[in-house]
């Protein structure tokens, strides 16, 4: 549900960037969203479509890049890929993993006119 406020934050950043980087229209927004970022991509699309009409980003395409999770296995002493916070280590099956990647919530690039 907080995706709506995140979309408002995205829009604030776009409007600021429009002034700083000198553009009037955004045609594509590229977001990087990690699997641990507490964000549902579909809810993000819904929110983005709801907040952008009448703004610099009206009709812009939302391109969401999902960043997979990564964690440090305290038993193997190495980085392992994980899909969820509660995953076990794919190598040794140990449960104590400390996530090191996957909480990204970034605006990467814009396509502007």
């Amino acid at each position: 549900m907080h995706e709506m406020s995140l979309c408002e934050s995205v829009l604030q950043i776009l409007e600021r960037q429009a002034r700083i980087q000198n553009f009037t229209r955004v045609t594509k927004v590229q977001l990087e969203i990690g699997v641990f970022a507490c964000v549902e991509p579909e809810a993000m699309r819904f929110g983005f479509a709801a907040v952008t009409p009448g703004t610099v980003a009206e009709g812009a395409r939302l391109d969401i890049i999902r960043v997979s999770g990564e964690a440090w296995c305290l038993t193997c002493n190495r980085l392992v890929p994980v899909r969820e916070r509660i995953d076990v280590c794919p190598a040794c099956g140990h449960e104590l993993l400390s996530p090191t990647g996957g909480d990204e919530l970034h605006i990467k690039n814009l396509e502007v006119a």
Partner: protein, 305 residues
């Protein structure tokens, strides 16, 4: 009216039932870092139509929230305020826990509460009955408190120095996990009438919290809730999480929780820059040393001892 500096004031958020006003010059007081650097006072002339191009942004979506959170955190540190952000599902007994905690704390401790709910000020009224300064934020349809609301609350509340400041978030185990408010710790409250597997179902929140408070333990004989398993689940998503088992209504287990709060407050007070300077002055009883003390604090970059 929408505030042009930060874009606030155009939603349904109310503080103490009113739209929050901007006549207190809140943008001039403690939010400074981060926000000023992002401000763009010069509205450049946008020149006609140009071809489509790619623009690099590389910004965190929560940049603005995190800038406010950073300002709040600095404010709390400088004023010796120990802020804890209480998060839970609706019905975990958060407000009762809060009122009982306040009543059980030594009278000497300054306490304040920032109360977040979508609607009504019922919880704030319950807390106000304990006699502590309380401020209600109604988020309207909003599912969480954000750092900007907290900076307004600090100001409206007139938060005193050396204060234990409780922030009771909106009852929701999902969204508040993503929003740093500038608190020292998030405390997740889970009651034994809920499922013991909630840490696994809502891992983001239990990962973000430093403390899990298991409430309503007086009801354990009547419910099917395995405390050890619940703690094990919580440690799976957060190996470092600290656990307190309490019954807010019976007072059971409250001692350790109260001691944790008091230690946190003491550390925060001891770490604030003016305390450090004050101690140097008391030791030497000379005005010149007071200057030296202040210089020493500055030299250490105001860092906590």
């Amino acid at each position: 009216m929408m505030c042009t500096t930060c874009g606030c004031g155009d939603g349904e958020v109310t503080i103490e039932g009113r739209d929050h006003s901007h006549n207190l010059q809140h943008h001039e007081h403690h939010h400074s870092n981060g926000l000023d650097s992002m401000a763009d006072p010069v509205h450049r002339q946008v020149t006609g139509i140009s071809r489509a191009r790619m623009v690099k942004v590389e910004q965190d979506i929560l940049t603005l929230n995190n800038a406010y959170a950073g300002d709040n955190r600095r404010y709390f540190a400088q004023h010796g305020d120990f802020a804890v952000n209480l998060v839970s599902s609706p019905g975990s007994g958060k407000t009762t826990l809060l009122t009982e905690t306040i009543l059980a704390l030594p009278r000497l401790i300054n306490t304040a509460v920032i109360e977040g709910d979508q609607q009504t000020s019922r919880d704030a009224e319950r807390i106000r009955d304990t006699g502590v300064p309380t401020l209600q934020i109604n988020t309207g349809k909003g599912c969480h408190l954000d750092a900007h609301m907290i900076s307004h609350a600090i100001e409206h509340l007139g938060l005193t120095d050396d204060t234990l400041c409780f922030i009771e978030n909106v009852g929701n185990l999902v969204c508040p996990a993503a929003f740093d408010l500038g608190e020292a710790h998030k405390v997740a409250i889970l009651s034994v009438t809920e499922g013991e597997d909630k840490p696994l179902k809502y891992p983001d929140m239990f990962h973000a919290a430093d403390v899990m408070l298991l409430n309503k333990i007086d009801l354990l004989p009547y419910v099917d809730f395995d405390v050890d398993r619940c703690v094990e689940y919580a440690r799976r998503v957060n190996p470092d999480i600290q656990v307190f088992e309490v019954s807010a209504t019976r007072g059971e287990g409250l001692g350790d929780w109260l001691a944790w709060l008091q230690r946190g407050l003491q550390k925060t007070i001891a770490g604030k820059p003016s305390t450090a300077a004050g101690l140097t002055w008391n030791d030497n009883e000379l005005e010149t040393d007071m200057v030296a003390g202040a210089a020493e604090v500055n030299a250490r970059g105001g860092e906590r001892p």
